[in-house]
Symmetry: C2
Subunit: 237 residues, 2 copies
């Protein structure tokens, strides 16, 4: 039986990083294209995004298999174990980001040709751009082993939540003004919600990455105010 060449532990970790990076790049690209497909009613582009999700899933399975085999074979202790398990968790979050992009893409047909106002379109585009920036940055900082740069990602997530609340309100207004737009607007609402959830996954990844690199919890920024409490507090206005 042919013997596999036993690579070094560091080399195997580097391969996990590489897979993580590939998953992240593909998921980010899916968000970018899903948003474009949504705003341009491009059903063909949307279909491509749906198909790409399988590749993210396959890469996750590959990463999981390698990581688990690594744990079983090398019995890493303390920091190394934390790193490998943390990588599995980060990959699970990236896989969910791919799912969310796919879900946006699947709604492109349902939104159809319903005209989207330039203001709403600009809001969704800006929200998507910010989300994408976060998705790109989190793995970049992790792979470069820069824990200090992960801190600002959590603060940026607050901006994504504010975008979401604003789009939520904008959509409610459109629905009230023109009941014929209600169906399309509810799909857009889910799309905006999906982008907001991508932001939450980036925060999860940042927390995991920070913990892997420092053994500490990511420092708490200002307390996160979510959509509901924010809406509650301004209910009278």
């Amino acid at each position: 039986m042919a013997q596999h060449i036993v690579s070094s532990f560091d080399e195997e970790l580097r391969q996990l990083d590489q897979l993580l990076r590939e998953m992240d790049e593909l998921s980010g690209s899916m968000i970018r294209r899903a948003t474009q497909a949504l705003l341009e009613a491009d059903v063909e582009l949307a279909q491509k995004v749906v198909t790409d999700d399988r590749e993210v899933d396959a890469k996750q399975r590959d990463l999981d298999d390698r990581a688990v085999t690594l744990i079983a074979r090398r019995q890493p202790m303390a920091q190394d174990l934390r790193l490998v398990v943390g990588t599995i968790r980060m990959a699970a979050d990236i896989e969910r980001i791919g799912d969310l992009a796919k879900n946006i893409a699947k709604r492109v047909g349902a939104v159809g040709q319903t005209p989207i106002s330039p203001e709403l379109s600009a809001s969704i585009q800006s929200m998507s751009d910010l989300v994408l920036k976060q998705v790109d940055a989190v793995i970049e900082h992790y792979v470069a082993r820069r824990p200090e740069d992960l801190v600002e990602l959590r603060d940026n997530d607050e901006k994504i939540d504010i975008f979401y609340t604003s789009i939520f309100r904008e959509l409610l207004t459109y629905m009230m003004e023109d009941p014929r737009k209600i169906t399309a607007c509810t799909h857009l609402l889910f799309c905006a919600k999906n982008l907001e959830r991508v932001g939450d996954h980036v925060t999860n990844i940042a927390e995991n990455a920070y913990y892997i690199l420092t053994g500490q919890q990511l420092p708490v920024g200002r307390p996160k105010q979510d959509e509901l409490s924010r809406m509650e507090s301004t209910k009278g206005s």
Copy 2:
């Protein structure tokens, strides 16, 4: 230094099963109470559900720690490794179910006293009951090592999806009839979507459990038709 008593591998696996079961029971109870809080506008009950989510999270961390330590220490091979890794994955899905119940609970305040029609209330209750039945059953079948019973869970998920599509349409109708209800209805829409997503997590758990127990993929039932394709196909009606 005091020596810990080394328990048997089987005993450690039994403990993982027990934690999985506790997480599942608590998440199920959170769904039941979140639905009740929503339909009875019971803000206090909702708050209790939000708090309970921390316990689910703590149990998941406990399970993860034990499972990872088990892998590193015992180096299980093939089937045992599949079992331990599968348990970590199932716990992650149960943790998400708790999150979804919490999210429903957090919307109770925003829906507020907006009257919900008896028909809609009955639909949401029935959907929630079916979802809860699935959540209870999946871990029960797994812990009892009954892979054959897992198959019907996936078929039941189709019924949950049909409920969701019907509630989605009902809510659209209410919104069109009375724009003042739009805000409350969008929150109810997210609640129904959350219940539908719980169903998806149960399917994930069933797939994992079946694979752990048999080494095979869960047999494919009839192809899943999702909300969007179902709506597309009846768009003209």
